[in-house]
Amino acid sequence: MERFRANLMLCAGTGCVASGATKVRAALEKELKKRGLKEEITVVLTGCNGYCAQGPVMSVLPDEIFYQSLTVEEVPKLVEEHFLKGRPYEKLMFKEPEKKLAIPLMKDIPFFKHQVLRVLRNKGLIDPEKIEEYIARDGYQAAAKALTQMTSEEVIKVIKDSGLRGRGGAGFPTGLKWEFASKVQSKVKYMLCNGDEGDPGAFMDRSVMEADPHAVIEGMIIGAKAIEAHNGYIYVRAEYPLAVKRLQMAIEQCYDAGLLGKNILDSGFDFDLEIYQGAGAFVCGEETALMRSIEGKRGMPRPRPPFPAHKGLWDKPSVLNNVETLAQIPLIILNGSGWYRSLGTEKSSGTKVFALTGAVNNIGLIEVPMGTPLRTIIYDIGGGIKKGRKFKAVQMGGPSGGCIPESLLDLPVTYEDIVKTGAIMGSGGMVVMDDNNCMVSIAKFFLEFTADESCGKCVPCRVGTRILLDMLADITEGRGKEDDIETLQDLSRDIITSSLCGLGQTAPNPILTTIRYFMDEYESHISQKWCKAGVCRDLCTFFIDEELCKGCGACLRACPSKAIIGEKKKPHKIIQEVCVYCRTCYETCKFNSIKILPAGAHEPKHMLVETKT
């Protein structure tokens, strides 16, 4: 077989492809050929590396040098310097944000340093389109073990003992779910995978499906064995074309290799698996709705019981597991429940993958042991808040979750601790917000989402979310009333208790948590008609503090409506009649001289003092 002295692991995930990985690959191969290195060095396309914001990224092995923000123009220089002359090319290395020092080795970059890779064990290390590479990393060994050396009961016991909980959001113990379904007598059962990752701000499952599709398939084979199912579906969002393509390819490879279909690995066990593409409905992430959707109907939830373990897809016993949950299964079978429990906490064992996005310096996909404090994730891995701004909240759990304030940053990330804050673990979206964000608007953003995605089957959710949204719109547009906060809370509680499915039962969480931790913002919106973040256009006025203005003219040039006047080196002024409240000047000013006051304010000096940040 071919031997190479170096493998260039180029990320070909959605993010890096969008930032030009395909062109970079072509340029690399051309340059390697030109320099006569084609026989020595090969380019390997990997799944999502997780460090999407700096894409395209590439790690050079065995050197372990990490390159980011690759461009076609830089490729010749990179090849000449590193691969021909052996001098790692500093220009494309990760730079430490504050001191701008280059960090050559991937393992030294803080973003990667604090992570423990289990679910993402193969990210950037294998070509997801080659089954041999997955097998070379112990792939399908666990399936072989489960199918030939273990009984269904033994498989279920290991998973139960491991304490693995569903990574889709609610955290139901996976082993228990399997046990319920295994105990129901039925000739036909279904093993299903939920790849309908709908939470805005979450992309863990997409990355896993793209970077390691075989891990998901192997997890499904083992689950099928545990519950004695012989048919399965992977339900994937239509918005994830690359994930669909990689999974399809992986399934075909498995059929060719006898890892799916009849008599898998000569064990006598049969399992057929196919992909079902969703069609864009958030509610289909709910298990009963998802099953309805596979049946080819409107994806609306139904009351439980009966639970899917008894009556699921086509009324047959079914188990639905999340992508990340399934990707952990092979590891647990191979290494045992004790190994799995060695990380995490008593009630939340193992690791969890998060999609860290928003106002942090290092954006990307991370995997940390359960129980890691939020502060470590945001400041050590995430590298703190962009441009040195002030942290305001971290949103977890998407539209079903909530905003966690700074005072709770030392909280360990576990299912139990996150629930106490009013947010939920959710599928792993973690959106960091700084002081540029208005929390009432954030609540409104999520309610717009849930009101729109409510399937309409039950009234509390369909009408309730709409009323909540209208009230929030009133508050952000200056029509808020004194008792609104109380009404919001009352209505929220009613919706939670009376909705049919998880969508309605959790939809008010963003409102309740923002009221709980950011009550002052609601109050200032309602009583002072003042959005202190300057986001709600009807509730703010922008002024330039003449004492702080240096007359640099940056805001004047930036203003899209030419509302700022002033001579160079003299204090500038905003013409209120022309201002469109776009915040551009506020973000442009380097001297903190732009002040946000309530709507219709006339620059009273005492307020200027109060708003200084």
Binding site: R5, E40, L61, P62, L84, K85, A136
Partner: protein
Amino acid sequence: MPRLTIEDLQKIKEKHRATFTLREGGYRAKITVHMGTCGIAAGARDVMTALMDEIANAKVEDVIVATSGCAGLCAREPMATVEIINHPPVKYGDLKADKIREIFKEHIIGGNPVEKYALVVGSETTY
């Protein structure tokens, strides 16, 4: 791909061991060929090619090859450093294709440094 048996899984794993030794670490020996301007001018490319050839023929899976810049001793280029884990590294100079082939057989496979080509023993390790 034909239908796999459990034994096949193991065989595929063995077959790819070399690739993953390279990617994951865990190698036994590392040979660094110095490829500065001077090294290349003096024929480091031929040395590299010969070395890659030897590795492929010998079917060893725990040896990796790296390149580095000028070693600072331009007069003795082409140069290479052989590091066997837990042994002092050995720098060789004035290399040619046949010399590196000999070094590969004697030192990397056999474990005995080739003293007649060695410049220095026990410089800094790079692993």
